[in-house]
């Protein structure tokens, strides 16, 4: 099976879906001639032309608004927000319009649209190119929020997102784009939205994570394995709808949970996981639910030591795992 990077998995998924379905079009800033700042749409303009690969103005509200209109008129738009940090001008279109359409039309109209956005820090992006925005959108009924961590899942979930009848936010951790390689089969397959994956089985405690943090959790698990701590790692893959069954099943097995995520801790996505576990698996807990998350500063700093201070790491994860194991 060929080995690919995550960015290649994105390219494959987009190209294959555009070949498969003529309603699929791509729009966003520099997605056409340039092929995207991360090259996620490289080659599409040449292959499918300017009618299906549209360079948009620098106006995110317009990108999403146009995509909603296209979707309502029978197209399958995949909008790219160049950096998740820039998605905020489109918040109104996403939350007030896209998310509600099915509900307010009593099920008659959906918005089959995907919004792709690279997110996350650790790449010297500074304050405006490093944010995690998933918690804002995971809060909203009517949206699906996907955050894959492997090339295989990226391709399969992006295809599933494009074929979904409702709006999907597809967050790609930009540090993983070329860092992570993995086996990706040629040809068509999908990965279902809403299913988490146990990526490492263990019996002493569970680390629940998504995106880049999954790799740190796996690395930490290997480190502490030598110390006799057997760690289970869950990659959530989809943040909304959450695969509660997989989470609760693991908690019932290990009774100790660390939720590791990059966003700042307060009201971050991990807070919801912690709340669900406290509500639904209280009697299975053997330790307080623990979160390892970013510090409470407004953004990821630019300076290297400060960025390292902000970002999760295998070492930070291993230390948290040790503390939880010792409880």
């Amino acid at each position: 099976m060929p080995t690919k990077t995550i960015i290649e998995a994105v390219q494959d998924a987009l190209r294959e879906e555009m070949e498969r379905d003529s309603r699929v079009i791509v729009l966003g800033e520099d997605v056409g001639l340039k092929g995207g700042v991360f090259k996620a749409t490289a080659g599409l303009y040449e292959k499918f032309g300017e009618m299906r690969v549209i360079d948009s103005p620098l106006a995110e509200s317009s990108i999403v608004g146009v995509a909603i209109g296209l979707a309502l008129n029978g197209m399958r738009p995949v909008a790219e927000i160049q950096f998740a940090d820039f998605i905020h001008p489109a918040f109104n279109q996403i939350v007030n319009e896209a998310a509600r359409f099915r509900y307010r039309s009593n099920g008659a109209y959906g918005v089959p649209m995907v919004i792709r956005a690279p997110y996350g820090g650790g790449i010297h992006g500074g304050l405006y190119h490093s944010q995690c925005v998933e918690a804002f959108f995971a809060h909203v009924p009517g949206l699906k929020v996907v955050a894959p961590s492997t090339p295989y899942d990226t391709k399969g979930l992006l295809k599933a997102a494009i074929r979904d009848e409702d709006p999907v936010l597809f967050f790609e951790h930009k540090k993983t784009y070329r860092l992570i390689r993995g086996e990706v089969p040629d040809g068509d397959y999908t990965v279902p939205i809403g299913k988490a994956r146990v990526v490492r089985e263990g019996k002493h405690l569970t680390v629940i994570s998504y995106g880049l943090s999954v790799y740190y959790a796996l690395e930490a698990a290997e480190t502490v394995a030598d110390e006799g701590i057997d760690v289970e790692v869950i990659d959530l893959r989809t943040l909304r709808p959450l695969d509660k069954d997989t989470v609760l099943e693991s908690v019932k097995k290990t009774s100790k949970v660390l939720i590791a995520y990059e966003d700042n801790k307060f009201c971050g996505y991990g807070a919801e996981i912690a709340a669900i576990i406290a509500e639904e698996a209280f009697e299975h807990l053997d330790a307080p639910i623990m979160r390892l998350a970013g510090p409470e500063v407004p953004a990821v700093p630019f300076a290297t030591p400060l960025e390292e201070w902000f970002m999760p790491s295998p070492e930070k994860t291993a230390n948290a795992v040790r503390e939880l194991a010792a409880y």
Binding site: E227, E283, E323
Partner: protein, 415 residues
């Protein structure tokens, strides 16, 4: 990063050295990040140097009065959460070590001394209950000797291989009531408990289980009550549209007695007695299906007329099943009028969490000897007071009951 160094800061562009004025923390003392650690004197400014990390002052390297160059290490702080050497083959219990070292002011961590009552996590509590495990039998390996899930599971596994009778069954907290053999014989009729029947059964048994109940009985001469009622009942019926009963008289007499005997209007709670400020009198009302106790709230603020109206209203709505949840809550004392069915005196069961319950017997004309020594025929009534001996002793209870009797016999009622 084993320790954090505190260095002589640059306290101005042209300042190259500083003198230690005073150490504000001693070795072994905990210090918070940004908390002043020492005073520094330079030829330009005197200032405080703060800790760069939270932790424990591990070393002071420069004594007071000494002048050193900028950048000289002045002290070392052992920060919180610092990784510590692994314990025997297991997990480096960073947090555990930290807690211990803070508690002992930086002294070397002592050998583990498990606390008397370590915290029990939800999963351990559940497993212990499911498997009937006496947790005191398990030595915990978690932080501060906490029993972990793995500890209890290992214990259960070990126990399964141990000879069975070594573990005596733990005594039940409360002796379970003996089960009555009630297998119905041929022709017996089996009545399924209605919810209200079930609630009454539970309340009554529970009351007898939790309170030390004693019943004391006194007799009241009801002449003045009866004659007052006879005099007013027709007009009352015309005006109010319902019958003037004896109940409001008993409520009023009880309320007046409760005012002077707050312990009869109290609640026993663990290690304290709560004297209730409000006087809310519950009135037991017999229904076809059972018994319910609506409550006259703040009965001490109400006239006889108002009490009569409320008792009538509550009793009517009780019989019509029209009571609101609020109507049956908050009783601080309860009256039961068992005399309506001819009972002379009874030993009522306290309506928890009250301190007492007053039972009212049937009013009967009896031959009595008056205080003057004459023989007379008087309408008499036995009053039975069941009180909680945990709260009141006999003298106090009798004193309260005597006050009720006095109030009934005194007369002077106003409608």
């Amino acid at each position: 990063m084993a320790t954090v160094e505190v260095k002589m800061p640059q306290l101005g562009e042209s300042v190259h050295e500083g003198t230690i004025g005073k150490w504000l923390k001693k070795v072994g003392e905990p210090v918070k990040k940004y908390e002043p650690l020492l005073e520094v004197i330079t030829d330009k400014v005197d200032t405080e140097v703060t800790a760069t990390e939270s932790g424990v002052v591990q070393e002071i390297l420069v004594p007071e009065g000494e002048t050193v160059k900028v950048g000289t290490v002045l002290a070392r702080i052992a920060p919180e959460g610092e990784p510590v050497p692994k314990r025997d083959g297991g997990v480096p219990a960073a947090a555990m070590q930290r807690e211990i070292s803070l508690k002992h002011d930086g002294a070397p961590p002592m050998a583990e001394t498990p606390k008397a009552a370590p915290r029990i996590s939800p999963v351990v509590a559940r497993i212990a209950e499911e498997h009937g495990v006496d947790l005191s039998q398990i030595k915990g390996t978690g932080r501060e000797g906490r029993i972990t899930k793995q500890d209890i599971l290992a214990y259960i596994e070990r126990r399964a291989t141990m000879p069975a009778p070594t573990l005596p069954a733990p005594p039940p907290v409360m002796p379970a009531p003996a089960r009555i053999e009630a297998a119905p014989a041929a022709g017996d009729q089996v009545i399924k408990l209605t919810p209200i029947r079930k609630a009454i059964a539970e309340h009554m048994v529970r009351s007898l289980q939790v309170a030390a109940q004693v019943t004391t009985v006194m007799e009241a001469d009801m002449s003045r009550v009866v004659s007052f009622r006879e005099k007013h009942k027709d007009e009352f019926q015309r005006r109010e549209g319902f019958n003037l009963t004896y109940t409001p008289f008993f409520v009023q007499a009880t309320v007046n007695a409760l005012r002077m005997h707050p312990y009869a209007n109290s609640t026993f709670a663990d290690d304290q007695i709560v004297l209730k400020r409000r006087i809310n009198v519950g009135i037991a009302v017999a229904l076809e299906s059972g018994l319910i106790v609506p409550v006259v709230k703040d009965a001490d603020e109400k006239s006889l007329l108002r009490l009569a109206r409320e008792v009538h209203d509550l009793a009517t709505r009780a019989r019509d099943h029209q009571l609101n949840p609020d109507d049956v809550q908050g009783a601080t004392f309860t009256i039961t009028n068992h005399g309506v069915s001819g009972s002379l005196f009874a030993t009522p069961i306290i309506n928890q969490p009250n301190a007492a319950i007053l039972g009212i017997g049937a009013i009967q004309k009896r031959v009595v000897v008056t205080p003057e020594g004459a023989i007379a025929i008087r309408p008499m009534c036995y009053l039975s007071l069941t009180f909680d001996h945990r709260i009141m002793d006999g003298v106090a209870a009798d004193s309260f009951l005597a006050k009720v009797v006095e109030e009934l016999e005194r007369g002077g009622f106003k409608l």
